[in-house]
């Protein structure tokens, strides 16, 4: 099996946040992420981005006020 490229892997990471990936896509992506630190970083960073944007607005309050 040919390893997927980083370009395709990051696309799947992103789409995984928007739709359910097919079984084959999930397996191929996990295999790639297991050996690719760069793409694994991107996965974590996209998740953090999601968390940050959800908090945008609410988190900018000064809690002491």
């Amino acid at each position: 099996m040919i390893m997927m490229s980083c370009k395709d892997a990051t696309r799947l990471v992103s789409q995984g946040l928007d739709r359910e990936l097919r079984f084959g896509e999930r397996v191929a992506l996990r295999l790639h992420l297991a050996i690719c630190a760069g793409c694994e970083n991107v996965e974590r960073q996209m998740e953090l981005l999601r968390e940050a944007v959800r908090k945008l607005g609410a988190e900018q309050d000064d809690p002491k006020r």
Partner: protein, 192 residues
């Protein structure tokens, strides 16, 4: 019973903030003015439901979200304009070489959870969002801030699901690059 004057003044004091925030999402200053006006009116008439329950800005931002969703629904009924952002959905992407490998491999971020505790981080994030192309930003904010499903976003923006995923992908890649540079202190890739 009319809301007390100081409540009115407090609400009015959040206007600039709400306006900036609405503009970020709608990319249209008139539409943003409208939704903020609606939000402030709703807040005044609904003052009783606030009753010190939560932080004022959080409460107002919550109302604003609903008003923005309404505004997006209204505007999507207008005829779609020709669209540059969907053009050139080409395979070329400067981040990757011709075989699809990183030209410059992303590094891990230092203390990402700590960033979410800092107001300055969110200011940087807003700056990065402002730098996105309008439609890309709208798709992204609808998905990640308003929490709409891709199906709804496609409909509102009048694009196919594939285009929608491409816009969301581009937004995420651009934002992570922007945050890496402006907040997490990656060196400029050019400088390496």
């Amino acid at each position: 019973m009319p809301p007390p004057t100081d409540f009115r003044a407090q609400i009015e004091g959040q206007r600039d903030y709400l306006l900036r925030f609405a503009t970020l999402q709608l990319r249209d200053s008139h539409a943003a003015e409208d939704v903020v006006q609606e939000t402030l009116l709703a807040a005044l008439t609904g003052a009783a439901s606030f009753a010190g329950r939560s932080n004022l800005r959080t409460w107002l931002t919550g109302i604003l979200k609903h008003k923005i969703v309404d505004a997006i629904r209204r505007s999507s009924r207008e005829p779609a304009r020709p669209d540059d952002e969907l053009e050139g959905l080409s395979e070329f992407d400067p981040l990757f070489d011709e075989r699809g490998h990183w030209r410059d491999r992303p590094s891990p971020w230092d203390s990402p959870e700590g960033a979410l505790e800092q107001k300055e981080f969110f200011a940087v994030l807003e700056g990065c969002l402002e730098g996105l192309p309008a439609k890309t930003a709208r798709a992204f904010m609808m998905r990640e801030h308003l929490g709409l499903e891709t199906g709804a976003i496609c409909k509102e923006l009048d694009i196919t699901p594939t285009h929608c995923w491409v816009l969301l992908y581009r937004a995420r890649m651009a934002l992570r690059q922007c945050l890496a540079t402006r907040w997490f202190g990656d060196k400029d890739p050019e400088a390496r």
